[in-house]
């Protein structure tokens, strides 16, 4: 299972970014073999960042996203995929991964609000 995490720096110790689609880097982490890579999120256009980031998740066969709460456009795209979103606000990538494995991260519902 692969997870995509929006991070500020290309490091496992990096803080989870305040933004999902406009984060500086995405960390793609494979829970099976613990291999990971960082993708520089150098978005060219200023529009449609949300759906583009979700497309990146789909292209990388990601099952879960850990980030700050994505915006409405990103959420609409996520809704159409089978990807789940988890609230990673305030954690480092490393901490969030641990919490995810222990089932301690809160899932962000795509269907209803609070």
């Amino acid at each position: 299972m692969k997870i995509m995490i929006a991070v500020d720096q290309p490091s496992l110790d990096s803080k989870i970014s305040d933004r999902f689609a406009r984060t500086a880097y995405f960390l793609i982490y494979d829970l099976q073999d613990q291999k990971y890579q960082f993708i520089n999120n150098d978005i060219e256009t200023k529009h449609g960042a949300g759906p583009k980031a979700v497309q990146l998740a789909i292209d990388n066969k990601v099952s879960a996203i850990i980030s700050a709460i994505p915006g409405e456009n990103a959420m609409d795209a996520i809704k159409e995929s089978k990807i789940k979103v988890y609230d990673g606000r305030g954690f480092s990538a490393k901490e969030a991964l641990e919490k995810f494995k222990n089932g301690e991260l809160k899932e962000v519902s795509t269907t209803h609000h609070l």
């Binding site: 709460i69 409405e72 609000h113």
Partner: protein, 289 residues
Amino acid sequence: MLVFQMAIVSGKGGTGKTTLSASFSYLAKDRVMADCDVDAPNLHIILKPQVIEKREYFGSKKAVLDQEKCVMCGVCEQVCRFDAIKFDGNGYSVTEYACEGCGACTIACPAKALQLVQSLSGEYYLSKTDNGPMVHALLKPSEETSGDLIAEVRKLALKGAYDSQIPLVIIDGAPGIGCPATSSITSTNYVILVAEPTMSGLHDLRRIVETVRHFRIKMGVVVNKYDINPSKTQEIEEYCKTEEIEILGKVPYDECVKRATENAQPVILYDCPASDEIKRVWENVSSKI
């Protein structure tokens, strides 16, 4: 160190966001101010920042025509859906304000005379004010990437906070519920909604509440000029009760606010009922940090 980010927004414009922000900027002991209304900023009028660092913001791309290469075929004018390319009798030229940067002309041009080039969309500044740093920006006319510029303003404000070990960023947010507003509030720790007791005030309050809910952020409401329409204020209070949103305070209509604004000063430097209530709201808000 953790930095607490607080945003002051409203669905409707002109409800008193900047009035409240300017006062908070004086009441908070240690803060970085971020004016995120980059389309029509005016917090700087009251806080009179001294610019320390100016940064250029390149938000969009625009078509640029190389006159040397142009073969005057006019294909670009035909394909431009925004009527941004015109023939003036001597040659073709691109109207910067009309160009949307779609790139159709660059593909259609047989002479490769048109290119998309990053264009300067605005500027943003790290400044100092009497009681702490301030980040603000200015978007150029006809530019539309304000949400992205706001993201840059907030990044610089947060960096300023970490660099100077200041634990609080106060964001004077953009009005509405669209991109600029969401960019002002995303990943903040607390949102203050300023509402006025009018029909559109309540209508737009409901919309911004939905938006803040989307981002799962705690919020509270300040009713400004609450006494100009007691029945609407009551409606706002009832709405907030149903939605379980705290009313942080109710600021009365006060000629003193007008005087403060005319003198480009924050209200809390004056001794008046509005000032007293804003101070009380601040006490309430600062207990959330």
